[in-house]
């Protein structure tokens, strides 16, 4: 063991790792928000609740159907994504012609309903979800101990983020999507079913949130309020990064996670607020956000 700036290396790297983990959740969630906002012009306030739903569905699958982590990683995003499709079909589609703010208010209401229902059935205390057997244990890297599961979360969320970036920025489907964001009427004239695309985009964004929820379940306890505090931090991340760029959302997410982790080592009292403070600084220096285009 050695020391860096007077702090033991294990502590420093341990917090750095935690920061990267938090950062991967920030990245996944702000990515989903950005994708949804790009297509629907709605800030999805229920994103945190849908992340929580992801964790709970994984928990329930294991508890009642004995379906483990790996199948859950595929089943949960689909199931929760489908609830997103229902929400879009029943509620959100009526709001596209109105002010953006109504979308925020509606999804806030949805978040309250989801959270309230889960709290009624599961209480406020956290429920444990065990790490899958194949990822238990860890590696001793000499300067720190790296639990396998945490390494997996970082790598996998990076892969998911980059895959999403690739699909949106480099494929035919993505270019249709981006075109529909710019000018939906024109894209419809080319015979592309834009309303269906919007529905699926929302489902996909919600699925991403649920996927993050499944990955979070073994690290944090599964609890009804796990999403609401997180989503406010993610909003700050989105303000810092700006929603114009997919890569920007990913980089900002991971970067802020690391900064938050380091703050826990050097100035623990500020670890809760550091992201908000950075938001204030960014607003003063670059009001449009780091990667944002001016509205």
């Amino acid at each position: 063991m050695f020391e860096i700036f007077g702090y033991p290396s294990t502590q420093l790297f341990g917090q750095l790792l935690l920061g990267l983990i938090n950062g991967s959740f920030y990245a996944l969630l702000s990515l989903g928000l950005a994708v949804i906002f790009g297509m629907l012009n709605i800030i999805n306030f229920s994103h945190g609740a849908q992340y929580m739903m992801g964790a709970f569905v994984a928990f329930l699958l294991l508890q009642h159907l004995n379906i483990g982590y790996w199948p859950a990683l595929i089943i949960v995003p689909i199931v929760v994504g489908l609830t997103g499709v229902v929400i879009e079909k029943c509620f959100l589609r009526w709001l596209y012609k109105l002010d953006h703010l109504y979308g925020l208010l509606l999804t806030f209401g949805i978040a309250l309903v989801i959270e309230g229902v889960f709290r009624n059935y599961f209480g406020s205390s956290g429920l444990p979800y065990r790490v899958p057997e194949s990822l238990q244990g860890g590696q001793n890297l000499g300067f720190m101990f790296l639990p396998n599961y945490r390494a997996w979360v970082i790598v996998f969320s990076l892969v998911v983020c980059l895959a999403t970036w690739f699909v949106i920025e480099r494929t035919k489907l993505g270019s249709n999507l981006r075109a529909a964001t710019e000018n939906p009427t024109l894209v419809r004239a080319f015979g592309i079913n834009v309303p269906r695309m919007i529905t699926l985009t929302y489902g996909f964004g919600v699925g991403l949130a649920a996927l993050a929820g499944v990955m979070a379940a073994p690290i944090y306890n599964v609890s009804p309020q796990m999403g609401s505090d997180l989503i406010i931090v993610v909003f700050a991340v989105v303000v810092i990064g700006g929603m114009g760029s997919i890569m920007g959302a990913i980089l900002t997410g991971f970067g802020l996670g690391v900064i938050e982790g380091l703050t826990k080592v050097f100035f623990p009292e500020a670890s809760n607020t550091v992201i908000f403070v950075i938001m204030v600084i960014v607003l003063l220096i670059r009001p449009a956000g780091l990667f944002g285009r001016t509205a």
Binding site: D99, L104, L106, F108, G109, V113, G116
Partner: protein, 322 residues
Amino acid sequence: MRETTDILKASKRATVTVSEALAFAIMIAAVVIAPLFVYPVFLMKALCFALFACAFNLLIGYVGLLSFGHALFFGWASYVAAHAAKVWGLTPELAVLVGTAVASALGFVSGALAIRRQGIYFAMITLALSQMMYFFALQAKFTGGEDGIQAVPRGQLFGVVDLSDQTAMYIFVVVLFVAAFLLIYRIIHSPFGEVLKAIRENETRAISLGYKTDRYKLIAFVLSATLAGLAGSTKAIVFQLASLTDVHWSMSGEVVLMTLVGGLGTVFGPVVGAFVIVAMQTYLAEFGQWVTVIQGAIFIACVLLFRRGIVGEIAQVLRIRL
């Protein structure tokens, strides 16, 4: 377009309409008679929230800015007022004044930051700022953390009137509420208020007409924060308590709900909305967590079906201005 012409009409008849005067008279009569039938504590709570919602409505209803962080001003003002009354031993009117002044200052700082971005970002910034101040409240020594500031003395108003007497307290709250209500009415019907509405309808156009819209938005934000602070300080004195609940984001959500239920951009809507929501919370308290679910459902119903809110729908049906 239609709304713009409505506003032009409204500005032509800037004098008090008969319907407004009548509604105001009914409201005053209700406030005077109500203590005979309903618990004064319930009424005082509802009046504090009505004032809070009116302050919030000044921003969303007349400038079109959705703040999702108004608990920041409400909660911090209540902490400061409670601290001033309990630790510094100030008389209640001074404690309320100090709390309100702090809310004003906080409003200036956070408003100056938030108006740097528009629309949806504005809501997210205000929410993030209020969450930041929530963590400060959680960690600061003087707020008492999870316990809050308890057993705040109601004290002697101007050193003379004992506010532990329920009637005196009630009159104090009513006077503050009515004064603030009339002030808000005056603001939205002043030339300044007309500019605010112009910004709501078409900000670019207001800019091209030579208005420094950022300055107007900031002043409106500070006014709204100040009045929200007045509501929070008063609540701290009435309930002799300042706690984390008042700075939490769910409080910001509640004031949005009250205003939405009553009617965005109506003068009387927030008052009606506040009474409806506070009554609902009081009488449905036994259902515990289901209250949150019901609130969420009301949000959804309001946004999809009754965007004008209770008072807005009534005004629409009767073709009057309320």
